[in-house]
Symmetry: C2
């Protein structure tokens, strides 16, 4: 049978891993990866898109394997020199990474949309599937914390997620619309896959773009999510800490609760098998498998299982 057309929803590191697995297993025209841009920030006058870049570097085979983000073998000479010139340098930007931000900023200044700039960058890096921002409009994730309201990178990187959050907000989302390729994929895809990304601040901003939540709620095909919380802990990043501070259940059931009405199956790890019943009470199947992606093989295998689940899907 023909391969399904998949719309993958992704944040940074975890999203990039599954996106790579999906890209290895699907014809490029069958995969659109829509990426959170609520984390975008201006550093040194340059437009930095951490999640777009994590996905891009992963699909281009450039990712630093030690961190899951940034470029393998990168150096930090430009950033160090910026520090000597009086600039703040708490956000790590490598010399190779800087090229991406410089190029994107120049393309945007020349009048391209973020979608167009991203297409230009990914094409030059040999990526053949579509990597698209959730929107071409500026959206800014704000962490509402006991230390005040913090832009996401300030909260996440500069403050190391130390402040206790009481909520998150997506400034600008109300005025945004889905990027053209995202809107097309919401209409044309056979299935939606939520990569194992932070439900609050990676998937949350994407769902906050007007029309997206309704499109997914009314989507005809299967909607499959992979839990980023395994054994009650986030594999990467602050998802567990944030969910706990917001009074949510810190396990895959908490993830399921966030996707009620938007998801038909939650893929959970073997260690979370006990939660299958609670997940099914949320109105979705629980699919139990190994979800930890350490190797290229892990990424391809999990993606293949998801594609097979979709191919064999019947409501």
């Amino acid at each position: 049978m023909p391969q399904p057309k998949i719309l993958a929803i992704a944040g940074g590191v975890g999203g990039a891993k599954l996106a790579l697995g999906l890209a290895r297993g699907l014809p490029p025209e069958n995969l659109t990866v829509v990426v959170n841009t609520g984390d975008d920030e201006t550093f040194h006058g340059l437009h930095v898109s951490p999640d777009l870049d994590s996905v891009t570097y992963a699909l281009a085979g450039l990712t630093n394997p030690d961190t899951g983000w940034g470029v393998a073998g990168d150096s930090f000479r430009t950033l160090e020199a910026l520090g000597r010139l009086g600039a703040e340098t708490w956000f790590g930007l490598g010399d190779l990474d800087f090229a991406t931000h410089i190029r994107r900023t120049a393309l945007l200044a020349d009048g391209m949309s973020l979608s167009q700039a991203t297409a230009e960058i990914t094409r030059h890096l040999g990526i053949t599937c579509a990597v698209v921002p959730m929107t071409d409009a500026p959206v800014r994730t704000i962490a509402i914390t006991d230390s005040g309201e913090l832009a996401f990178q300030e909260y996440f990187v500069h403050r190391g997620c130390e402040p206790r959050i009481t909520g998150v907000r997506f400034d600008g989302a109300d005025a945004a619309q889905p990027s053209p390729a995202f809107a097309d994929a919401l209409r044309d895809a056979d299935a939606i896959v939520y990569c194992p990304s932070n439900p609050l601040v990676s998937v949350g901003p994407i769902l906050a773009v007007p029309g997206v939540r309704d499109s997914i709620a009314n989507f005809a095909g299967p909607r499959i999510a992979v839990s980023p919380i395994v054994g009650g802990q986030a594999l990467k990043g602050p998802a567990a800490k944030m969910m706990g501070e917001l009074g949510e259940e810190v396990n895959c059931v908490g993830v399921a609760r966030r996707y009620v009405g938007l998801c038909d199956a939650l893929v959970i790890d073997d260690v979370d098998r006990e939660h299958s019943g609670a997940i099914e009470e949320c109105g979705m199947r629980a699919v139990v498998t190994g979800t930890i992606m350490q190797t290229e093989f892990d990424k391809e295998r999990l993606a293949r299982e998801i594609v097979e689940l979709i191919a064999g899907w019947s409501r």
Copy 2:
């Protein structure tokens, strides 16, 4: 006797050498180096000021000794990565150099003038004398050639000065005014020193800023120029080729002719002693000494001779 207050007029490499010599021999408050910005260009969306940076790196002790421009020990990883992303890379920008352009562009975007951004950058690099752009307004040197009109860096770097020039033009100069510190120095300095920079495209743009030529023509103190043409050849850059193509005498006498009414003494190299008479016919003294600055000692010695000439000056 107290040291004179000197306004040094500089382009890139040659200007930077004498500026360093002067900086070593004078209290910092006695030296203002005004620098050509007609060569400025936007690369990758960043404001690049080649001459300001050559002077800045020289005074900060950062200059690449092999080239006279750029930063010693620089690498080119960001530029190479930009090339992989589809950007043009014929203008060499190192990773450390990029920091300067990124910082300057960010400071300008934050509302600083080029003077203020330059002061911020030079201060952080430990430079204590004033390094100032000729103007805060955009001025663009255009080479009028047999291959059409070319922006200066296109002519100079991309085309390697190969097209034959028929003239130069300084777009935007008519609407410019001297930068505040340049205007102050034109009023307050005890002497003006033209560094051995290209008279057409390094000193020329500075003289083209409205009011500058008149201020120098009416300047009360001594005005000393150092010939960048030695033995009929430019020590660096296209000055000799350009002067020849414009039908000017390609030696220190041709330099003197460009500075008639704006200069009281032309410092020429020992090898050009024979031209002393022709220079004095231009209405200025010929001062013969070694003008080739290869070592730090050469730069300091030539600067010291000029300062002594100024200190002992009587019209």
